[in-house]
Amino acid sequence: MTTPFIHRHAAHCETGTVAALLRDRGLDLSEPMVFGIGGGVFFIYVPFVKMGGIPLAAYRGAPGSIIKSAYKRLGVKVRVMRFRSPDDGMASLDRFLAAGTSVGLRTSGYWLPYFPQNLRFQFNAHHLVAFGKEGGDYILSDPVFEHPVRCPAADLRRARFTKGLFAPKGLLFYPEEIPANPDIKGAVIDGIRFTCRRMLVPVPFMGVAGIRYLSRQMRKWPDKLGMERAAYYMGSVVRMQEEIGTGGAGFRFMYTAFLQEAAGVTGMAAVSEAAGMMSETGDKWREFAVMGAKVCKGVLEGPGAYAEIADRVFDCAEREERIFRLLKGAV
């Protein structure tokens, strides 16, 4: 006996996929809970690692890390498969679907026909759930879309076997064994501890220190890069914060949702207080995004504008340091 798969709209592909696969197997956790347990917010700014000529900036951990950590902290045994041959990868997917098993897939977004044109980039770390096949079409629950979508087999095949950075190699995964009574409270506390450790790590380009580093670098962009390039750098940071499905403010709002739920689960007043602080910090990040976009549009110009924006980013770092010191003390 199987119950029909229920699609739920999510902000982020990875957390949405993990939550959907667990939900389909009877463990109903919200996307923010999966996010918080799986590692939560992060920040990294590494100017000497360039992606497409742009310094690497990210508001969360590496692709795939949330999947791994969330399952681990919940005590879920997960089966992961990769394939050398696309034929094998598609045949294996068909067998799971025929048996009524929903599975997670890693794909490129570029080759998925239902993606909006302007969001199709050669980026290999998109995640989605496959839960059915009708004729030559796969029925997918792509968490960042409002409703389930259909995708022709040839397109899905291409998307699963793209090459390059984070090449998915047909990656397919699903929870094999879920504990009857998972220790949610323990997982939540583990998750918060992990996030505190990472945000407060004494490495100059990671966590809170990374945000301060970005702020210092930003100030120098106009002189160092010239106006056009500086605006491009600014846009790329805002893009990582708002364009890549983060739920707004570079995952800070989703993390607030997690902290609110976590406050209920743990009964800790400090976690509830941190949720309120994180909500305010998210608003500050949004203000930064608005100003950053003005720089890109040329409405705001000159070193003065960059200095003002850098001040705001610095303020976000201060706020996040206070939040994670508070949480660290509590858990």
């Binding site: 409002e146 291409r158 090459k163 976009a293």
Partner: protein
């Protein structure tokens, strides 16, 4: 962010809605779908200006005989030499060579077929470029 502050602006989502997290009336953060935000439109357009420019430059170079059509089609798939090489299963240095008109003209059908397959186009398309500007960067 409050639910009513979630932007519902004309944007790039083609009628889709993006899930945002925002506060309902009780202060609880919940999923609120967003039609789009001007900020994301601006920063999205910024990347596309750069991509479109590189595709159009390639088209001009092909028309002037300075590059092979492979350069144009590689750029219009937003690919780099190394990504095209990995996708087609061809060494990077060979791909680089094939970006020049002479070496490209002497490619056999099998090799052209590999590139066409990697780019998701037909061999006929691979051999030509559009006569007019107007970049197309997705299949």
């Amino acid at each position: 962010m409050k639910a009513k502050e979630v932007p519902q602006e004309d944007s790039i989502l083609e009628g889709n809605r993006r899930a945002c997290y925002a506060q309902d009336e009780t202060g609880k953060y919940v999923v609120v779908p967003s039609r789009g935000w001007e900020v994301e439109k601006i920063i999205n357009a910024q990347t596309h200006v750069e991509i479109d420019r590189s595709i159009e430059e390639a088209r001009q170079e092909v028309m002037n005989g300075a590059a092979s059509p492979l350069l144009y089609h590689m750029r219009s798939r937003q690919m780099t030499v190394s990504l095209l090489a990995a996708t087609a299963g061809v060494w990077s240095w060979r791909v680089k060579r094939h970006l020049k008109p002479g070496p490209f003209a002497s490619l056999d059908g099998a090799m052209l077929g590999r590139y066409a397959e990697a780019l998701g186009i037909s061999v006929e398309e691979l051999n030509t470029v559009p006569a007019e500007p107007g970049a197309k960067r997705t299949p």
